[in-house]
Amino acid sequence: MELYELTIHELLDLIKKRETTPSEITESVLKRVGQVEDRVKAFVTITEEEARERAKHIDEDVNNEGNIKSLMGIPMALKDNMCTKGIRTTCSSKILYNFKPPYNATVVEKLNDAGTVLIGKTNLDEFAMGSSTENSAFHTTRNPWDLKRVPGGSSGGSAAAVAADEVIFALGSDTGGSIRQPASLCGVVGMKPTYGFVSRYGLIAFASSLDQIGPFTKDVTDCAIVMNAICGHDPMDSTSANVDVPDFTKSLVADVKGMKIGVPKEYFIEGIQPEVKDAVMKAAELFEEMGANVEDISLPHTDYGLSVYYIIAPAEASSNLARYDGIQYGFRAEEYDDLIDLYKKTRSEGFGPEVKRRIMLGTYALSSGYYDAYYLKAQKVRTLVKQDFDNAFEKCDIIICPTSPTTAFEIGAKTDDPLAMYLSDVFTIPVNLAGIPGISIPCGFSNGLPIGLQIIGKPFDEATIIKAAYTFEQATDYHKQKPNL
């Protein structure tokens, strides 16, 4: 057994017993990166030297203080849309190819305080727009379970890095499924917390009313540990919720007796892969055997979620991405006539096709004469989607459904058809629209490819999700399977 194969809680136990050191763990992880990264391509930037130095520093802290912090000496990766002071932060876009932020995102500060070691910044679909990492300006990340397939997206680099044991955990961001969908396709645990639970300060904005940071981990216990470290109110983010953060590790109890679980019929539509449906149905049966009350429910506006999302998210993105003009930071076109031409050439050369497509869509939806027909209409239907969940949660404690309609698809399979690509997020988007929390955990395999179970909860009730996920995990061993790399 190599150190890089272990979980956070297993490594912390070893550090506490003085059976290993942060430096040994970091060396083990860097060795693994050296073995597999040229095939997986999870990273945009690898901070090898910084990681070694940081680990040595933490070795001393462990010796001096004897007081082990919650993530002391744990190697991790960050999606490359979270600002890291002095370390290149690109959003996998040409327009930020050389951007070195002058400050750290709040989550980065929090992880630093908890004692983590940064291994690198992971690949994403440019500006988090996509479901496969194929929209990265640099390269496509490969699914560790089958290198011909996508890892999902947009946080595909973070998901693949954890699945390939290149880091012990990673952070991603989720606007329409960008944590849960790649977690599902790569067979790891990925959680999108309630909107406002984790500070967005220093997360480069895509769609501000939907974006949320969350963890990728190897099991549910690690998920609870990382959630403890990253949640909480931040005065630097005006949309940060001022609520108490419970100790999520207290929810690591295998017990779902009497828990009311809803299974929404709208999530078992035509076009869903039969093995995915079967695996989720089996999960529902298992919950029932373990004492939960499973019942069918309806979320009648599910089918409208995708349309709502692809108006609201591009509208917010077109506004957020107006800042990339070649003046203050990032790429600037070399040839231009005047200032307006500088803007246009910089943006046209700096953004990739999907980002331009969404800027166009969003600008159109917000433009004079179309605002009511598209943007206002979408905001109203967003209310209906949210009400569906409010109504469902009057009857049940959690909802379970597939995370993604299919297992990982082949690289190139959907790049020519934007709508087909958008449909891979059809089960994750409604959760973002409602602002509620969701997790994806491994619940089966089809032809050697992982299947994800999504568990959705009430706002700020991640504790119940974690309890249900932990109970399922204790009764199964899907999370212990590793890809053969």
Binding site: G196, S238, H301, G326, Y329, L339, Y343, M360, L361, Y374
Partner: protein
């Protein structure tokens, strides 16, 4: 067709994007097919439904107006494509 090539050119100008002919063709086709898919929203009567702009109740968030540390001029300009004498440098705007 909901969007013509002319609309695409107008929107591209609003978004400060320069599109070549091929891109104009592609975006006209793709935006039309995406907007067609979104037509289904019109099946819903939303006359009396309030819009949701944010999922959590948001009020203005105020803080004390205290002087705090900020980035140095050097740090602010470190990422600039072009800078001179402590300023961002842009092409001449007024003739």
């Amino acid at each position: 067709m909901k969007i013509s090539k002319k609309d695409v050119e107008h929107v591209a100008n609003l978004a400060r994007l320069h599109l070549d002919e091929q891109e104009k063709e592609n975006y006209t086709k793709q935006l039309n097919s995406i907007l067609e898919y979104m037509e289904k929203l019109n099946l819903l009567d939303t006359e009396d439904v309030p819009p949701t702009s944010h999922v959590i109740p948001l009020k203005n968030v105020f803080r004390e107006d205290k002087v705090r540390d900020s980035l140095s001029n050097e740090e602010v300009l470190a990422n600039a494509p072009d800078a001179e004498d402590g300023y961002f440098k842009v092409p001449k705007i007024i003739e």
